[in-house]
């Protein structure tokens, strides 16, 4: 079943106001920034965003006024420090009040994993002794065998996971490589998955290496082909990290007016991903293309 769509239609169809959306699941790489920009353009409201460390993606969507709540372990700008919009929302309710379900990387991953496993919780030994572990999505439990005390982490089920991947076929079967963060857990925890990918490949490419298939197509609702769809975050083998973009964002988003200008320039002022790439310009894109000769060596599935 062909699920290939354009970004505008996919975001319009797959996200309703008030949904819980996991995105930016591989930590600092494979962040579906283009999809986040389209969420902002479509002025989605009251979203709950879920990811451990989403780099500046959550800060952008919070600043644009689309977010009611974040379920996260860290919100900011990884290379530069604080996230100014996150701070303004938390400290002053600008542009609106924001709730946070506080996690560590491990407990957030376990919450998603619980949902992916079809369970209401998973136990862990982490975060006991942390002040945020007193929040109601944690509970102390006893091991029924050893009697030791453990922390139960409540399941986190996104309505949608938006994942940027290296390559997928038209049915949504996706090959992903590099660090996964919680990408796999999010794919199986969410009610459905919206994929953006740097490359659409033949089904036969997927079948050549079933151990590389991270997302089976039956989980996927839409596949969107977006070269540089993770910009400014990196996609191993396809695009480098655009470090300057993060530092510029940090500087320009320091004050609300600066953020508004940034938003107007990079998101609201461009119609779609192609115009965004045109704004970056061919030279900058060229500089972001990886070089080298580092390819995985083949393995045999002969029989």
């Amino acid at each position: 079943m062909d699920k290939v769509s354009n970004l505008r239609e996919a975001i319009a169809r797959d996200i309703q106001d008030g949904m819980a959306v996991a995105m930016g699941c591989a930590l600092e790489s494979l962040i579906p920034f283009a999809a986040g920009y389209e969420i902002i353009r479509q002025k989605k409201q009251d979203l709950t965003l879920i990811a451990p460390i989403s780099d500046i993606q959550f800060d952008q969507i919070i600043g644009a006024g689309c977010v009611k709540k974040v379920v996260a372990s860290w919100v900011g700008n990884v290379a530069a420090g604080l996230g100014h919009n996150f701070r303004r929302a938390m400290e002053e309710g600008i542009p609106q009040r924001l709730e946070v379900e506080e996690h560590s990387n491990f407990t957030l991953a376990l919450g998603l994993k619980a949902a992916a496993m079809g369970l209401p919780f998973l136990p862990t030994k982490t975060a006991r002794g942390s002040d945020f572990a007193r929040e109601p999505h944690y509970a102390e439990i006893d091991c029924p065998f050893t009697r030791e005390k453990l922390l139960a982490v409540r399941a986190i089920q996104p309505d949608l996971a938006i994942l940027h991947v290296q390559r997928a076929d038209s049915e949504g079967n996706a090959h992903v490589w590099g660090n996964f963060g919680v990408l796999r857990e999010a794919a199986f925890a969410a009610k459905k998955v919206l994929l953006t990918c740097d490359e659409i490949v033949d089904h036969e490419v997927i079948l050549s290496d079933p151990n590389r298939t991270v997302v089976p197509g039956f989980l996927v609702s839409s596949v969107v082909h977006l070269s540089f769809g993770s910009h400014p975050s990196p996609t191993q083998g396809y695009t480098r990290r655009d470090d300057d973009f993060y530092f510029e964002y940090h500087k320009e988003s320091r004050a609300p007016e600066g953020f508004k200008r940034w938003l107007e320039k990079w998101i609201l002022g461009v119609k779609d991903h192609s115009e965004y790439l045109a704004l970056l310009g061919p030279e900058r894109l060229q500089r972001l293309k990886p070089e080298g000769n580092l390819f995985s060596l083949p393995v045999s599935f002969n029989f």
Binding site: E28, S73, W74, A79, E102, F106, T126, S130, D131, G178
Partner: protein, 251 residues
């Protein structure tokens, strides 16, 4: 030989990594410290990153995040958060590096919110720091030494050290060993074996004990064996500069 305080901190971090250890590395100074240890005294150390990457040699190119492509290329293992956190939880990780906006006399760290001029400032949160603090065999805390950051009691415990001191970790069922060192811009600190309070073990060259006391928000204990931090050797400095040629992290 001239060196910066940050170079000294990198070298101090490197010296904490023992041969063959599995180390949760993190970014910036500890990442450089891992490279120094690998090249000099701990060639079989293994670096673990919370995004799911395990490396047995440092990335040769400068990176801004642990998920930057040079940190993935020719890694030993690429998986997810749960994979590497399981190693931590199963007690297989010897050492982890963490930092914070505030630290207190029992090595508790805060990266959630602080108070500045009576105004509450929201910080990014835990990331993986609470996990490392709870579960690693031992932790090294690295941070700038400023009085507003060194408090008798942190405003919020993100990453637990020794809690309220003494047997608090055991009583609260925290499996990891807790912080073993604090490496700051002024000195190196250990923890008293009984009370678990921070103790000044060495001051960096050119720093006085008085200066350290002034920048510490509680009456600081001084080790009877207090000495001066050994400066970086020529070899150590050469490796630091090989991995941070533009002085992004160490100037």
């Amino acid at each position: 030989m001239e060196y910066t305080r940050k170079e000294l901190m990198v070298v101090a971090a490197a010296r904490e990594i023992r041969e063959g250890e599995k180390v949760f590395v993190g970014m910036r100074l500890p990442l450089l410290g891992f490279a120094v240890a690998k090249e000099l005294h701990a060639p079989n150390a293994v670096g673990i990153f919370e995004n799911g990457v395990i490396r047995d040699w440092p990335a040769l190119q400068s990176i801004f995040t642990i998920s930057d492509p040079p940190n993935l290329a020719r890694a030993l293992y690429c998986g997810g958060i749960v994979d590497v956190m399981n190693l931590l939880q199963a007690g297989r990780v010897d050492l982890g590096f963490i930092g914070g906006a505030e630290v207190d006399r029992y090595g508790n760290l805060n990266t959630h919110w602080v108070v500045e001029n009576g105004h509450r400032v929201r910080l990014p949160g835990s990331g993986g720091a609470a996990d490392i603090a709870t579960l690693a065999g031992r932790c090294i805390i690295i941070m700038n030494h400023e009085r507003r950051r060194f408090l008798p009691r942190v405003h919020f415990i993100t990453s637990p050290g020794y809690g309220e001191g003494a047997e608090w970790r055991t009583e609260n069922g925290l499996p990891g060993g807790g912080p073993s060192r604090v490496i700051t811009s002024l000195g190196i600190f250990s923890f008293d074996a009984q009370s678990r309070e921070v103790v000044l073990a060495s001051h960096h060259p050119g720093v006085t004990v008085e200066e350290i006391r002034r920048e510490t928000g509680w009456p600081l204990r001084i080790s009877p064996g207090l000495n001066e931090t050994a400066p970086p050797s020529r070899e150590e400095l050469a490796v630091v500069r090989k991995y941070d040629p533009k002085r992004v992290w160490t100037s």
